[in-house]
Symmetry: C2
Subunit: 266 residues, 2 copies
Protein backbone atom coordinates (compact mmCIF):
# COMPACT_ATOMS: atom_id res chain seq x y z
CA UNK A 1 0.00 0.00 0.00
CA UNK A 2 1.76 3.00 -1.29
CA UNK A 3 -0.52 5.35 0.51
CA UNK A 4 1.53 8.27 1.62
CA UNK A 5 0.15 9.47 4.88
CA UNK A 6 -3.11 8.02 6.00
CA UNK A 7 -1.32 6.29 8.74
CA UNK A 8 -0.95 9.08 11.08
CA UNK A 9 1.18 7.79 13.97
CA UNK A 10 -1.64 7.21 16.39
CA UNK A 11 -2.75 10.82 16.43
CA UNK A 12 -3.34 11.07 20.13
CA UNK A 13 -6.27 13.01 21.36
CA UNK A 14 -8.78 14.05 18.78
CA UNK A 15 -8.28 10.66 17.16
CA UNK A 16 -11.83 10.18 15.98
CA UNK A 17 -12.32 6.87 14.14
CA UNK A 18 -13.42 7.09 10.53
CA UNK A 19 -16.51 5.05 11.27
CA UNK A 20 -17.53 7.62 13.83
CA UNK A 21 -16.87 10.55 11.52
CA UNK A 22 -19.09 8.94 8.92
CA UNK A 23 -21.94 8.83 11.40
CA UNK A 24 -21.66 12.35 12.77
CA UNK A 25 -23.64 13.84 9.87
CA UNK A 26 -26.40 11.37 10.64
CA UNK A 27 -26.57 12.46 14.25
CA UNK A 28 -26.41 16.05 13.19
CA UNK A 29 -29.41 15.63 10.93
CA UNK A 30 -31.44 13.97 13.66
CA UNK A 31 -30.43 16.62 16.16
CA UNK A 32 -31.32 19.41 13.78
CA UNK A 33 -34.78 17.96 13.42
CA UNK A 34 -35.15 17.84 17.20
CA UNK A 35 -33.85 21.35 17.48
CA UNK A 36 -36.48 22.56 15.05
CA UNK A 37 -39.14 20.99 17.21
CA UNK A 38 -37.58 22.79 20.17
CA UNK A 39 -36.80 19.56 22.01
CA UNK A 40 -34.32 20.52 24.72
CA UNK A 41 -32.69 17.16 25.51
CA UNK A 42 -32.50 13.63 24.15
CA UNK A 43 -31.33 10.34 25.55
CA UNK A 44 -28.89 8.22 23.62
CA UNK A 45 -31.70 5.75 23.09
CA UNK A 46 -34.02 8.28 21.47
CA UNK A 47 -31.39 9.92 19.36
CA UNK A 48 -30.06 6.58 18.23
CA UNK A 49 -33.51 5.55 17.07
CA UNK A 50 -33.91 8.80 15.15
CA UNK A 51 -30.55 8.37 13.48
CA UNK A 52 -31.05 4.70 12.77
CA UNK A 53 -28.18 3.29 14.82
CA UNK A 54 -28.01 1.61 18.17
CA UNK A 55 -27.50 3.49 21.36
CA UNK A 56 -24.28 1.85 22.50
CA UNK A 57 -22.64 2.83 19.26
CA UNK A 58 -23.91 6.35 19.55
CA UNK A 59 -22.60 6.74 23.07
CA UNK A 60 -19.24 5.39 22.08
CA UNK A 61 -19.15 7.77 19.14
CA UNK A 62 -19.92 10.74 21.35
CA UNK A 63 -17.33 9.66 23.85
CA UNK A 64 -14.69 10.39 21.24
CA UNK A 65 -15.86 13.97 21.05
CA UNK A 66 -15.86 14.48 24.77
CA UNK A 67 -18.34 14.16 27.60
CA UNK A 68 -21.21 16.24 26.39
CA UNK A 69 -24.05 14.41 28.11
CA UNK A 70 -25.52 14.40 31.59
CA UNK A 71 -26.04 11.09 33.31
CA UNK A 72 -29.61 10.39 34.18
CA UNK A 73 -30.74 13.07 31.76
CA UNK A 74 -29.30 12.83 28.28
CA UNK A 75 -27.78 15.29 25.86
CA UNK A 76 -28.55 18.94 25.38
CA UNK A 77 -29.74 19.20 21.80
CA UNK A 78 -28.46 22.66 20.97
CA UNK A 79 -25.12 22.08 22.55
CA UNK A 80 -24.60 18.84 20.71
CA UNK A 81 -25.59 20.40 17.40
CA UNK A 82 -22.91 22.98 17.94
CA UNK A 83 -20.23 20.52 19.03
CA UNK A 84 -20.81 18.18 16.12
CA UNK A 85 -20.97 21.03 13.62
CA UNK A 86 -17.71 22.31 14.91
CA UNK A 87 -16.11 18.90 14.82
CA UNK A 88 -17.20 18.43 11.21
CA UNK A 89 -15.96 21.85 10.29
CA UNK A 90 -19.40 23.15 9.39
CA UNK A 91 -19.19 26.31 11.38
CA UNK A 92 -17.31 27.83 8.51
CA UNK A 93 -18.80 27.80 5.07
CA UNK A 94 -17.26 25.84 2.28
CA UNK A 95 -17.46 27.10 -1.26
CA UNK A 96 -18.02 24.15 -3.60
CA UNK A 97 -17.91 23.87 -7.36
CA UNK A 98 -19.95 21.37 -9.31
CA UNK A 99 -18.49 20.29 -12.61
CA UNK A 100 -20.74 18.66 -15.18
CA UNK A 101 -24.22 20.10 -15.23
CA UNK A 102 -26.31 17.31 -16.67
CA UNK A 103 -29.30 15.93 -14.87
CA UNK A 104 -27.18 14.86 -11.95
CA UNK A 105 -25.28 18.10 -11.72
CA UNK A 106 -28.55 20.00 -11.82
CA UNK A 107 -29.98 17.76 -9.13
CA UNK A 108 -26.98 18.50 -6.97
CA UNK A 109 -27.21 22.21 -7.62
CA UNK A 110 -30.84 22.17 -6.58
CA UNK A 111 -30.27 20.03 -3.55
CA UNK A 112 -31.24 22.01 -0.51
CA UNK A 113 -29.13 19.97 1.86
CA UNK A 114 -26.01 21.80 0.79
CA UNK A 115 -26.86 25.31 1.70
CA UNK A 116 -28.51 24.26 4.92
CA UNK A 117 -25.22 22.83 6.10
CA UNK A 118 -22.01 24.75 5.72
CA UNK A 119 -21.83 24.45 1.96
CA UNK A 120 -22.28 27.09 -0.68
CA UNK A 121 -22.35 26.36 -4.38
CA UNK A 122 -19.77 28.82 -5.61
CA UNK A 123 -20.08 27.87 -9.27
CA UNK A 124 -21.50 25.46 -11.79
CA UNK A 125 -19.16 24.46 -14.57
CA UNK A 126 -19.85 22.63 -17.80
CA UNK A 127 -17.85 21.92 -20.94
CA UNK A 128 -20.78 22.56 -23.25
CA UNK A 129 -20.52 26.16 -24.54
CA UNK A 130 -24.25 26.27 -25.17
CA UNK A 131 -24.84 25.84 -21.44
CA UNK A 132 -22.80 28.89 -20.57
CA UNK A 133 -24.88 31.58 -18.95
CA UNK A 134 -27.92 29.37 -18.55
CA UNK A 135 -29.04 29.56 -14.95
CA UNK A 136 -29.47 26.31 -13.04
CA UNK A 137 -30.84 26.58 -9.55
CA UNK A 138 -30.42 30.31 -9.93
CA UNK A 139 -26.73 30.10 -10.67
CA UNK A 140 -25.43 30.76 -14.17
CA UNK A 141 -23.41 27.91 -15.63
CA UNK A 142 -19.85 28.82 -16.55
CA UNK A 143 -17.64 27.28 -19.16
CA UNK A 144 -14.84 24.91 -18.19
CA UNK A 145 -12.29 27.36 -19.48
CA UNK A 146 -12.98 29.33 -16.33
CA UNK A 147 -12.40 26.41 -14.02
CA UNK A 148 -8.99 27.40 -12.74
CA UNK A 149 -9.95 31.02 -12.28
CA UNK A 150 -13.12 30.15 -10.42
CA UNK A 151 -11.39 27.76 -8.07
CA UNK A 152 -8.60 30.18 -7.28
CA UNK A 153 -10.68 33.28 -6.89
CA UNK A 154 -13.21 31.62 -4.63
CA UNK A 155 -10.70 29.69 -2.59
CA UNK A 156 -12.51 26.46 -3.40
CA UNK A 157 -11.17 23.37 -1.67
CA UNK A 158 -14.00 20.98 -2.40
CA UNK A 159 -15.06 19.95 -5.88
CA UNK A 160 -17.90 17.76 -7.08
CA UNK A 161 -17.49 15.84 -10.31
CA UNK A 162 -20.71 14.92 -12.08
CA UNK A 163 -19.35 14.59 -15.59
CA UNK A 164 -19.42 11.52 -17.80
CA UNK A 165 -16.76 8.96 -16.93
CA UNK A 166 -14.55 9.93 -19.81
CA UNK A 167 -14.08 13.49 -18.65
CA UNK A 168 -13.69 12.83 -14.95
CA UNK A 169 -9.95 12.32 -14.71
CA UNK A 170 -9.11 15.44 -16.66
CA UNK A 171 -11.51 17.53 -14.65
CA UNK A 172 -10.04 16.05 -11.52
CA UNK A 173 -6.51 16.91 -12.56
CA UNK A 174 -7.47 20.48 -13.31
CA UNK A 175 -9.34 20.89 -10.06
CA UNK A 176 -6.41 19.57 -8.10
CA UNK A 177 -3.92 21.70 -9.98
CA UNK A 178 -6.02 24.74 -9.19
CA UNK A 179 -6.05 23.98 -5.49
CA UNK A 180 -8.90 21.59 -4.74
CA UNK A 181 -7.98 19.00 -2.11
CA UNK A 182 -11.26 17.15 -1.60
CA UNK A 183 -13.31 15.61 -4.35
CA UNK A 184 -16.71 14.02 -4.40
CA UNK A 185 -16.84 11.85 -7.49
CA UNK A 186 -20.08 10.71 -9.10
CA UNK A 187 -18.47 9.48 -12.29
CA UNK A 188 -17.94 5.75 -12.47
CA UNK A 189 -14.17 5.90 -12.59
CA UNK A 190 -11.29 5.45 -10.23
CA UNK A 191 -9.57 8.79 -10.01
CA UNK A 192 -5.83 9.21 -9.66
CA UNK A 193 -4.90 11.99 -7.32
CA UNK A 194 -1.72 13.17 -5.68
CA UNK A 195 -0.97 12.45 -2.11
CA UNK A 196 -2.95 14.58 0.26
CA UNK A 197 -6.09 14.81 -1.82
CA UNK A 198 -9.21 13.05 -0.53
CA UNK A 199 -11.63 11.40 -2.88
CA UNK A 200 -15.02 10.03 -2.04
CA UNK A 201 -16.99 8.15 -4.61
CA UNK A 202 -20.71 7.73 -4.99
CA UNK A 203 -21.75 5.16 -7.48
CA UNK A 204 -25.35 4.43 -8.20
CA UNK A 205 -24.86 1.23 -10.04
CA UNK A 206 -22.61 -0.16 -7.33
CA UNK A 207 -25.28 0.41 -4.73
CA UNK A 208 -27.80 -1.41 -6.85
CA UNK A 209 -25.45 -4.30 -7.39
CA UNK A 210 -24.98 -4.72 -3.68
CA UNK A 211 -28.73 -4.77 -3.24
CA UNK A 212 -29.01 -7.33 -6.00
CA UNK A 213 -26.57 -9.55 -4.19
CA UNK A 214 -28.69 -9.59 -1.08
CA UNK A 215 -31.87 -9.86 -3.06
CA UNK A 216 -30.58 -12.91 -4.84
CA UNK A 217 -29.56 -14.39 -1.55
CA UNK A 218 -33.05 -13.95 -0.20
CA UNK A 219 -34.47 -15.77 -3.18
CA UNK A 220 -31.92 -18.51 -2.74
CA UNK A 221 -32.70 -18.87 0.91
CA UNK A 222 -36.39 -19.17 0.32
CA UNK A 223 -35.87 -21.85 -2.21
CA UNK A 224 -33.26 -23.65 -0.13
CA UNK A 225 -35.15 -23.34 3.10
CA UNK A 226 -38.09 -25.27 1.67
CA UNK A 227 -36.13 -27.62 -0.50
CA UNK A 228 -33.68 -29.14 1.92
CA UNK A 229 -31.91 -31.05 -0.84
CA UNK A 230 -33.10 -28.69 -3.51
CA UNK A 231 -31.69 -27.52 -6.77
CA UNK A 232 -27.99 -26.66 -7.13
CA UNK A 233 -29.10 -23.12 -6.64
CA UNK A 234 -26.48 -20.46 -5.85
CA UNK A 235 -25.87 -22.06 -2.49
CA UNK A 236 -27.68 -20.10 0.14
CA UNK A 237 -25.07 -18.35 2.14
CA UNK A 238 -24.93 -18.15 5.84
CA UNK A 239 -27.38 -15.59 6.91
CA UNK A 240 -25.77 -12.52 8.27
CA UNK A 241 -27.83 -10.42 5.92
CA UNK A 242 -31.36 -9.75 6.87
CA UNK A 243 -33.08 -10.75 10.00
CA UNK A 244 -31.82 -9.42 13.19
CA UNK A 245 -34.22 -7.58 15.36
CA UNK A 246 -37.57 -8.92 16.40
CA UNK A 247 -40.52 -8.35 14.15
CA UNK A 248 -40.24 -4.66 14.81
CA UNK A 249 -40.97 -2.37 11.96
CA UNK A 250 -38.62 0.34 12.94
CA UNK A 251 -35.34 1.06 11.36
CA UNK A 252 -32.56 -0.14 13.54
CA UNK A 253 -29.32 0.38 11.84
CA UNK A 254 -29.73 2.12 8.62
CA UNK A 255 -26.72 4.30 8.78
CA UNK A 256 -23.14 3.55 8.09
CA UNK A 257 -22.06 0.06 8.44
CA UNK A 258 -19.10 -0.95 6.52
CA UNK A 259 -18.62 -0.32 2.89
CA UNK A 260 -18.66 1.69 -0.22
CA UNK A 261 -17.32 5.18 -0.55
CA UNK A 262 -14.68 6.30 1.83
CA UNK A 263 -12.07 8.84 2.31
CA UNK A 264 -8.80 7.95 0.88
CA UNK A 265 -5.88 10.16 1.56
CA UNK A 266 -4.79 9.20 -1.86
Amino acid sequence: MATGRTHRPATRSRGIPEATVARLPLYLRALTALSERSVPTVSSEELAAAAGVNSAKLRKDFSYLGSYGTRGVGYDVEYLVYQISRELGLTQDWPVVIVGIGNLGAALANYGGFASRGFRVAALIDADPSMAGKPVAGIPVQHSDELETIVRENGVHIGVIATPAGAAQEVCDRLVAAGVTSILNFAPTVLSVPDGVDVRKVDLSIELQILAFHEQRKAGEEAAARTAAGVPAPAATDATTAADGAKRTSATDQGPDGDVPAVMPA
Copy 2:
Protein backbone atom coordinates in the same frame (compact mmCIF):
# COMPACT_ATOMS: atom_id res chain seq x y z
CA MET B 1 -29.08 -9.13 19.31
CA ALA B 2 -32.54 -10.55 19.07
CA THR B 3 -31.62 -12.44 15.99
CA GLY B 4 -34.90 -13.23 14.36
CA ARG B 5 -34.21 -15.94 11.88
CA THR B 6 -30.55 -16.24 11.12
CA HIS B 7 -30.70 -19.71 12.48
CA ARG B 8 -30.07 -21.66 9.38
CA PRO B 9 -27.91 -24.76 9.98
CA ALA B 10 -24.81 -22.69 9.61
CA THR B 11 -24.64 -23.19 5.86
CA ARG B 12 -20.90 -23.30 5.76
CA SER B 13 -19.09 -22.19 2.65
CA ARG B 14 -20.13 -19.15 0.67
CA GLY B 15 -19.91 -16.80 3.63
CA ILE B 16 -18.76 -13.76 1.73
CA PRO B 17 -17.96 -10.80 3.99
CA GLU B 18 -19.94 -7.63 3.43
CA ALA B 19 -16.78 -5.65 2.79
CA THR B 20 -15.94 -8.02 -0.02
CA VAL B 21 -19.42 -7.87 -1.52
CA ALA B 22 -19.16 -4.10 -1.60
CA ARG B 23 -16.00 -4.35 -3.66
CA LEU B 24 -17.15 -6.92 -6.17
CA PRO B 25 -18.90 -4.32 -8.33
CA LEU B 26 -15.64 -2.41 -8.44
CA TYR B 27 -13.73 -5.40 -9.68
CA LEU B 28 -16.48 -6.14 -12.12
CA ARG B 29 -16.25 -2.70 -13.60
CA ALA B 30 -12.49 -2.94 -14.00
CA LEU B 31 -12.77 -6.39 -15.51
CA THR B 32 -15.44 -5.29 -17.94
CA ALA B 33 -13.15 -2.56 -19.17
CA LEU B 34 -10.35 -5.08 -19.66
CA SER B 35 -12.74 -7.41 -21.40
CA GLU B 36 -13.70 -4.68 -23.84
CA ARG B 37 -10.05 -4.19 -24.64
CA SER B 38 -9.82 -7.93 -25.20
CA VAL B 39 -7.26 -8.41 -22.48
CA PRO B 40 -7.22 -12.14 -21.75
CA THR B 41 -5.68 -12.25 -18.28
CA VAL B 42 -4.74 -9.96 -15.41
CA SER B 43 -2.60 -10.30 -12.36
CA SER B 44 -3.97 -9.34 -8.98
CA GLU B 45 -1.58 -6.43 -9.01
CA GLU B 46 -2.85 -4.99 -12.28
CA LEU B 47 -6.50 -5.54 -11.51
CA ALA B 48 -6.09 -4.07 -8.06
CA ALA B 49 -4.57 -0.93 -9.52
CA ALA B 50 -7.43 -0.61 -11.99
CA ALA B 51 -10.01 -1.02 -9.27
CA GLY B 52 -8.22 1.25 -6.83
CA VAL B 53 -7.54 -1.25 -4.06
CA ASN B 54 -4.45 -3.13 -3.03
CA SER B 55 -3.60 -6.53 -4.35
CA ALA B 56 -3.58 -8.45 -1.10
CA LYS B 57 -7.11 -7.34 -0.42
CA LEU B 58 -8.19 -8.28 -3.88
CA ARG B 59 -6.72 -11.74 -3.62
CA LYS B 60 -8.32 -12.29 -0.26
CA ASP B 61 -11.63 -11.14 -1.70
CA PHE B 62 -11.40 -13.55 -4.59
CA SER B 63 -10.42 -16.35 -2.28
CA TYR B 64 -13.92 -16.15 -0.81
CA LEU B 65 -15.41 -16.82 -4.20
CA GLY B 66 -13.19 -19.77 -4.93
CA SER B 67 -9.89 -20.38 -6.64
CA TYR B 68 -10.38 -18.75 -9.98
CA GLY B 69 -6.81 -17.76 -10.70
CA THR B 70 -3.75 -19.54 -12.03
CA ARG B 71 -0.54 -19.26 -10.09
CA GLY B 72 2.24 -17.72 -12.03
CA VAL B 73 -0.24 -16.33 -14.54
CA GLY B 74 -3.16 -14.41 -13.07
CA TYR B 75 -6.91 -14.43 -13.63
CA ASP B 76 -8.82 -15.15 -16.80
CA VAL B 77 -10.77 -11.97 -17.43
CA GLU B 78 -13.86 -13.45 -19.06
CA TYR B 79 -14.15 -16.18 -16.53
CA LEU B 80 -13.89 -13.80 -13.63
CA VAL B 81 -16.45 -11.46 -15.15
CA TYR B 82 -18.82 -14.35 -15.29
CA GLN B 83 -18.13 -15.60 -11.79
CA ILE B 84 -18.51 -12.21 -10.19
CA SER B 85 -21.65 -11.43 -12.16
CA ARG B 86 -23.14 -14.67 -11.04
CA GLU B 87 -22.15 -14.08 -7.45
CA LEU B 88 -23.76 -10.65 -7.50
CA GLY B 89 -26.87 -12.02 -9.12
CA LEU B 90 -26.43 -10.02 -12.28
CA THR B 91 -26.92 -12.89 -14.67
CA GLN B 92 -30.62 -12.39 -14.27
CA ASP B 93 -32.15 -9.05 -14.94
CA TRP B 94 -33.73 -7.03 -12.21
CA PRO B 95 -36.69 -4.83 -12.95
CA VAL B 96 -36.38 -1.62 -10.96
CA VAL B 97 -38.81 1.21 -10.35
CA ILE B 98 -37.72 4.76 -9.71
CA VAL B 99 -40.08 6.85 -7.64
CA GLY B 100 -39.78 10.62 -7.74
CA ILE B 101 -38.83 11.96 -11.12
CA GLY B 102 -37.22 15.27 -10.33
CA ASN B 103 -33.73 16.11 -11.47
CA LEU B 104 -32.27 13.25 -9.53
CA GLY B 105 -34.84 10.73 -10.66
CA ALA B 106 -34.27 11.82 -14.24
CA ALA B 107 -30.54 11.50 -13.80
CA LEU B 108 -31.02 7.99 -12.51
CA ALA B 109 -33.35 7.09 -15.35
CA ASN B 110 -30.78 8.31 -17.85
CA TYR B 111 -27.89 6.63 -16.14
CA GLY B 112 -26.45 4.11 -18.52
CA GLY B 113 -24.82 2.05 -15.83
CA PHE B 114 -28.11 0.44 -14.97
CA ALA B 115 -28.99 -1.20 -18.21
CA SER B 116 -25.43 -2.27 -18.84
CA ARG B 117 -25.54 -4.35 -15.68
CA GLY B 118 -28.43 -6.58 -14.89
CA PHE B 119 -30.88 -3.78 -14.23
CA ARG B 120 -33.87 -2.65 -16.24
CA VAL B 121 -35.90 0.41 -15.42
CA ALA B 122 -39.38 -1.07 -15.39
CA ALA B 123 -41.15 2.17 -14.59
CA LEU B 124 -40.81 5.78 -13.54
CA ILE B 125 -43.31 6.97 -10.99
CA ASP B 126 -44.14 10.46 -9.80
CA ALA B 127 -46.85 11.99 -7.68
CA ASP B 128 -47.27 15.03 -9.91
CA PRO B 129 -50.21 14.40 -12.28
CA SER B 130 -48.79 16.82 -14.81
CA MET B 131 -45.77 14.57 -15.23
CA ALA B 132 -47.90 11.59 -16.18
CA GLY B 133 -47.21 10.44 -19.71
CA LYS B 134 -44.19 12.67 -20.13
CA PRO B 135 -41.32 10.55 -21.34
CA VAL B 136 -38.06 10.67 -19.42
CA ALA B 137 -35.16 8.73 -20.84
CA GLY B 138 -37.65 7.28 -23.28
CA ILE B 139 -39.92 5.93 -20.56
CA PRO B 140 -43.29 7.54 -19.88
CA VAL B 141 -43.75 8.66 -16.29
CA GLN B 142 -46.67 7.05 -14.49
CA HIS B 143 -48.68 8.41 -11.64
CA SER B 144 -48.17 7.14 -8.10
CA ASP B 145 -51.67 5.71 -8.08
CA GLU B 146 -50.29 2.98 -10.28
CA LEU B 147 -47.44 2.11 -7.95
CA GLU B 148 -48.85 -1.07 -6.49
CA THR B 149 -50.03 -2.35 -9.84
CA ILE B 150 -46.69 -1.64 -11.50
CA VAL B 151 -44.70 -3.35 -8.78
CA ARG B 152 -46.90 -6.42 -8.77
CA GLU B 153 -47.27 -6.83 -12.49
CA ASN B 154 -43.57 -6.46 -13.15
CA GLY B 155 -42.43 -8.55 -10.23
CA VAL B 156 -40.29 -5.68 -8.99
CA HIS B 157 -38.14 -6.43 -5.96
CA ILE B 158 -35.90 -3.38 -6.04
CA GLY B 159 -37.13 0.16 -5.69
CA VAL B 160 -35.30 3.47 -5.87
CA ILE B 161 -36.64 6.40 -3.89
CA ALA B 162 -35.69 9.83 -5.22
CA THR B 163 -38.54 11.82 -3.74
CA PRO B 164 -38.32 14.72 -1.33
CA ALA B 165 -37.69 13.67 2.27
CA GLY B 166 -41.28 14.23 3.28
CA ALA B 167 -42.66 11.67 0.87
CA ALA B 168 -40.02 8.99 1.29
CA GLN B 169 -41.49 6.99 4.15
CA GLU B 170 -44.92 6.73 2.59
CA VAL B 171 -43.49 5.70 -0.74
CA CYS B 172 -41.33 3.19 1.05
CA ASP B 173 -44.29 1.69 2.88
CA ARG B 174 -46.24 1.33 -0.32
CA LEU B 175 -43.33 -0.22 -2.18
CA VAL B 176 -42.80 -2.72 0.59
CA ALA B 177 -46.48 -3.54 0.87
CA ALA B 178 -46.52 -4.21 -2.85
CA GLY B 179 -43.63 -6.62 -2.65
CA VAL B 180 -40.39 -4.66 -2.86
CA THR B 181 -37.69 -6.06 -0.57
CA SER B 182 -34.68 -3.90 -1.45
CA ILE B 183 -34.64 -0.14 -1.45
CA LEU B 184 -32.08 2.38 -2.55
CA ASN B 185 -32.90 5.59 -0.76
CA PHE B 186 -31.73 8.99 -1.94
CA ALA B 187 -34.01 10.96 0.32
CA PRO B 188 -32.36 12.33 3.44
CA THR B 189 -34.45 10.31 5.87
CA VAL B 190 -34.08 7.20 7.92
CA LEU B 191 -36.63 4.76 6.59
CA SER B 192 -38.51 2.32 8.76
CA VAL B 193 -38.94 -1.03 7.12
CA PRO B 194 -40.06 -4.44 8.24
CA ASP B 195 -37.64 -7.19 8.97
CA GLY B 196 -36.21 -8.74 5.84
CA VAL B 197 -36.16 -5.59 3.76
CA ASP B 198 -32.77 -4.16 2.87
CA VAL B 199 -32.23 -0.44 2.65
CA ARG B 200 -29.19 1.32 1.31
CA LYS B 201 -28.90 5.03 1.62
CA VAL B 202 -27.04 7.49 -0.53
CA ASP B 203 -26.77 10.94 0.90
CA LEU B 204 -25.03 13.73 -0.91
CA SER B 205 -24.77 16.10 1.95
CA ILE B 206 -23.35 13.44 4.24
CA GLU B 207 -20.56 12.74 1.79
CA LEU B 208 -19.71 16.40 1.64
CA GLN B 209 -19.70 16.70 5.39
CA ILE B 210 -17.23 13.88 5.68
CA LEU B 211 -15.00 15.62 3.17
CA ALA B 212 -15.32 18.83 5.12
CA PHE B 213 -14.13 17.08 8.24
CA HIS B 214 -10.93 15.95 6.57
CA GLU B 215 -10.51 19.25 4.81
CA GLN B 216 -10.71 21.07 8.09
CA ARG B 217 -8.20 18.73 9.59
CA LYS B 218 -5.78 19.45 6.77
CA ALA B 219 -6.06 23.15 7.41
CA GLY B 220 -5.47 22.60 11.10
CA GLU B 221 -2.40 20.54 10.47
CA GLU B 222 -0.85 23.08 8.19
CA ALA B 223 -1.32 25.84 10.66
CA ALA B 224 -0.04 23.80 13.56
CA ALA B 225 2.92 22.37 11.74
CA ARG B 226 4.45 25.79 11.19
CA THR B 227 3.35 27.37 14.43
CA ALA B 228 4.73 25.03 17.05
CA ALA B 229 3.15 27.01 19.86
CA GLY B 230 0.66 28.67 17.59
CA VAL B 231 -2.88 29.84 17.96
CA PRO B 232 -5.47 27.88 19.90
CA ALA B 233 -6.64 26.59 16.56
CA PRO B 234 -9.06 23.65 16.48
CA ALA B 235 -6.56 21.49 18.28
CA ALA B 236 -4.17 20.39 15.66
CA THR B 237 -4.05 16.70 15.32
CA ASP B 238 -0.78 14.95 15.49
CA ALA B 239 0.60 15.94 12.15
CA THR B 240 2.39 13.51 10.02
CA THR B 241 2.21 16.46 7.80
CA ALA B 242 5.08 17.21 5.57
CA ALA B 243 6.66 15.07 3.01
CA ASP B 244 6.55 11.42 3.75
CA GLY B 245 4.79 9.52 1.03
CA ALA B 246 6.37 9.13 -2.35
CA LYS B 247 5.47 11.73 -4.89
CA ARG B 248 3.34 9.24 -6.77
CA THR B 249 0.25 10.50 -8.40
CA SER B 250 -1.63 7.27 -8.59
CA ALA B 251 -4.74 6.38 -6.73
CA THR B 252 -4.11 3.68 -4.25
CA ASP B 253 -7.19 2.88 -2.33
CA GLN B 254 -10.12 4.75 -3.55
CA GLY B 255 -12.69 2.09 -3.13
CA PRO B 256 -14.61 1.02 -0.13
CA ASP B 257 -13.08 1.59 3.17
CA GLY B 258 -15.37 1.71 6.03
CA ASP B 259 -18.40 3.88 6.18
CA VAL B 260 -21.52 5.40 4.90
CA PRO B 261 -24.31 3.52 3.23
CA ALA B 262 -24.73 -0.09 4.01
CA VAL B 263 -27.20 -2.84 4.00
CA MET B 264 -29.30 -2.88 7.02
CA PRO B 265 -31.39 -5.87 7.84
CA ALA B 266 -33.99 -3.43 8.97
